[in-house]
């Protein structure tokens, strides 16, 4: 017992140093990117490599906008990600409520299908989806980028596990007070699962923000490219102007960085919750 107690007080500094070295090497690429986006071309090509820019310059950020329609890409990404998040949340909140708090024929079969859809990799359905969306004339449209990506299995499963935890007595009480399904959902269920809903929303937004394969396939016109696609083409378009590539990456990462700093706990939670029912 005394040993256990001492362990609580005694901090393990050797492990800390090992972990810190590991952590700093994990962060190194991001630090390098941030510092380099303020460097001049001469600094980038200097040998031995320079840690800090000799002169801090904003030119690279300006160059990104001059070289490619970066603002267009950025707005496209914001627009499609927000739209996708809203739709994903709308569908999965309603579906989770129906799956956990209502009774309808085929409920179990539906849950089972939903679960198994998580095991179908996107690449399997990618080709038929591409052909269908193209046939509908939605290639190179925002709808074409967003609609096929509202696969709600993950968020629905996540929310369902929380909705299921709300006691039915609470719902019955609301029903006695004359609430319909919609009011029960908005006044009873959702206020009690705020944490889960915000985690799912954040997760959905980040998923949409980094989405790559589908937007790459379904867009051919520059004006519909989202940020990740724009960044991919920047590699060839900027021909190894690394300081410009870093400035563009930094701006693309910015929303993620903000989300990460303020909601790291929730992000981690969205990952650990995936492991809940494997």
């Amino acid at each position: 017992m005394r040993l256990g107690h001492r362990k609580l007080v005694h901090r393990n500094w050797i492990l800390f140093v090992i972990l810190l070295i590991g952590a700093l090497s994990m962060l190194f690429p991001f630090v390098w990117m941030t510092l380099s986006s303020f460097k001049t071309k001469a600094d980038v090509y200097s040998f031995p490599p320079r840690w800090l820019p000799t002169v801090w310059t904003w030119e690279n950020f300006k160059a990104v906008f001059d070289m490619i329609p970066f603002l267009r890409y950025y707005l496209n990404s914001i627009y499609t990600s927000v739209l996708q998040t809203v739709l994903v949340m709308l569908v999965s909140i309603l579906a989770s409520y129906a799956l956990t708090k209502m009774r309808f024929p085929g409920q179990r079969t539906y849950s089972m299908f939903l679960m198994s859809s998580m095991f179908v990799p996107a690449v399997v359905t990618m080709i038929p989806l591409y052909l269908t969306v193209s046939a509908m004339g939605l290639a190179d449209t925002y709808a074409g980028i967003v609609l096929p990506q509202i696969s709600t299995a993950f968020t629905t499963m996540l929310l369902s596990s929380f909705f299921a935890g709300i006691p039915n007595d609470l719902l019955d009480a609301a029903r006695l007070d004359g609430c319909g399904h919609f009011r029960i959902l908005t006044k009873v269920v959702m206020p009690n699962t705020k944490g889960a809903i915000s985690t799912a929303t954040l997760f959905s937004f980040l998923t949409a923000w980094k989405s790559y394969t589908w937007p790459l396939i379904i867009t051919t016109k520059t004006e519909y490219r989202t940020l990740p696609i724009g960044l991919k083409y920047l590699v060839t378009e900027s021909s190894s102007e690394y300081q410009i590539m870093m400035a563009a990456s930094l701006m693309a990462i910015l929303p993620v960085l903000i989300a990460f700093i303020f909601c790291e706990k929730q992000l981690v939670r969205s990952i650990t919750l995936t492991g809940m029912k494997s």
Binding site: G22, A23, V120, I127, K232, V235, T272
Partner: protein, 273 residues
């Protein structure tokens, strides 16, 4: 949302649908025969082989390293939250953005890696530009990117192990090492097997980093993984039938891996909350 596309992809795999010529007719099993024994079947086996190597290496490194890091983080160390966040950061950053940083790291002339090598007096490495090292370069990136996901899951699992088990072990005089091997690791088994499954399935889905860092599958197709091959068949060559057949083969492989993992890893549910 997914049943119809799955039926469609099965149908497509039995046609010779070509988006470039626009031809569409029934083709029986010819797409499968073509992939497995046709004139370019070596591309298929090559992509499958690369994917297998990728899966094995990434899995080995990311699971062992993550287990080590998670165990260390579970000990009484300061700044635990900062450390965990640092390992987790590469997971949340869009792959394209981090790939751009690594393209520079791997630059033969002005990349930091080669600058370090030359500083150490070692010969320069061609990284992404040589067929010998390109897949390895992609793998180093992937290990860096995927590590945090496993760390977070395993750490949550470790923190969830009830103190009463460990206390019982200590009363029986177990050393820290014994506590780990005899109590923590067996209790962690469901999560370890979950992590292994996620890594394995993940390896069969890798596309983005390869597509960004080596757009045409690298020198001599050396980084061509299975999904990149499907992408090439479908969207570069317009061969939707062949690509669908290849996607279905991939699906069957992933399905078998999942089954195998369930058999080996036990079907205990993982509860991390």
């Amino acid at each position: 949302m997914f049943i119809i596309p799955v039926i469609q992809v099965i149908q497509l795999s039995f046609t010779n649908y070509n988006t470039i010529t626009g031809s569409m007719s029934a083709a029986g099993f010819s797409n499968y025969v073509y992939l497995l024994t046709g004139s370019t079947s070596e591309y298929f086996y090559q992509a499958l082989g690369h994917t297998a190597i990728y899966a094995a290496v990434q899995l080995t490194f990311d699971v062992t390293l993550a287990l080590l890091i998670a165990v260390m983080l579970d000990a009484n160390v300061p700044l635990k939250k900062f450390l965990r966040a640092s390992y987790f950061a590469p997971v949340v950053v869009p792959i394209v953005a981090s790939s751009l940083i690594w393209i520079w790291f791997y630059d033969v002339n002005i990349g930091p890696f080669n600058q370090i090598l030359s500083w150490l007096g070692l010969p320069a490495c061609k990284w992404l530009l040589s067929e010998k090292t390109s897949l390895m370069s992609i793998l180093i990136f992937s290990i860096w990117k995927g590590l945090g996901y496993n760390v977070v899951l395993l750490l949550a699992g470790l923190q969830n192990i009830s103190d009463s088990y460990l206390e019982a072990g200590r009363i029986d005089g177990a050393t820290g090492w014994q506590l780990f091997w005899k109590i923590k690791l067996p209790l962690l088994r469901p999560i370890v097997s979950f992590v292994v499954m996620m890594d394995l399935i993940g390896a069969f889905k890798v596309f983005t980093e390869v597509n960004v860092m080596t757009p045409d599958g690298g020198p001599l197709r050396s980084t061509m993984l299975i999904v990149n091959y499907i992408y090439e068949l479908a969207f570069t060559n317009g061969r939707m039938g062949r690509a669908s057949a290849c996607a279905l083969i991939l699906f069957i492989i992933i399905f078998l891996c999942t089954l195998l993992q369930r058999k080996l890893g036990g079907s205990k549910t993982v509860d991390l909350d």
